[in-house]
Amino acid sequence: AQSVSQHNHHVILSEAASLELGCNYSYGGTVNLFWYVQYPGQHLQLLLKYFSGDPLVKGIKGFEAEFIKSKFSFNLRKPSVQWSDTAEYFCAVRGNNNDMRFGAGTRLTVKP
């Protein structure tokens, strides 16, 4: 069965700091990888996704993620965070059986 691990439970940064959130997955077949963001009190929104091709994926709001197949990783990055990036971030994997599994989430707090 597929699984997703997010290493950081809570990350606290100051504005303009760089961000990297870790995500590792476990799955034996071809996967699609996603990052979702959940702003306080809101629903999940898709930040970016990877299926094939260039392993460096650019998403909305200046976020990007890099798929490293040998490490089963799909880390999320942003060069300079803003206060408005404060949210919960979820990594997700979608395998051949078509269902999506989410990591436990990482809470990002950006201090103004």
Binding site: H43, L44, Q45, R94, D99, M100, G105
Partner: protein, 113 residues
């Protein structure tokens, strides 16, 4: 114009009651899902329906029963509500293609007292 709409947004009810949450999507997607998000923000898939057929039924109590009258609707009925059922329930939908992500509804915050 909401793509995935859930009602109600908030639901407060007493233990032992039966309640339903409705979900509708106007995206023409083939598959719909119910997820439960607990107080620690952990998202767990509960059910998935593809063209009105159940394709995932995770180990949730049988007090929870999904109903899909057509592929645009997936409702969640809960019998004999318990305190531990308190959570935010998200409906989502997706096309068949694996490349596509899910589109989530705005969630229903269920509080059982």
């Amino acid at each position: 114009d909401t793509a995935v709409s859930q009602t109600p947004k908030y639901l407060v009810t007493q233990m032992g009651n039966d309640k339903s949450i409705k979900c509708e999507q106007n995206l023409g997607h083939d598959t719909m899902y119910w997820y439960k998000q607990d107080s620690k923000k952990f998202l767990k898939i509960m059910f998935s329906y593809n063209n009105k057929e159940l394709i995932i039924n995770e180990t949730v109590p049988n007090r929870f029963s999904p109903k899909s009258p057509d592929k645009a609707h997936l409702n969640l009925h809960i019998n004999s509500l318990e305190l531990g059922d308190s959570a935010v329930y998200f409906c989502a939908s997706s096309p068949q293609a694996r490349l596509a992500g899910y589109t989530f509804g705005s969630g229903t915050r269920l509080t059982v007292v």
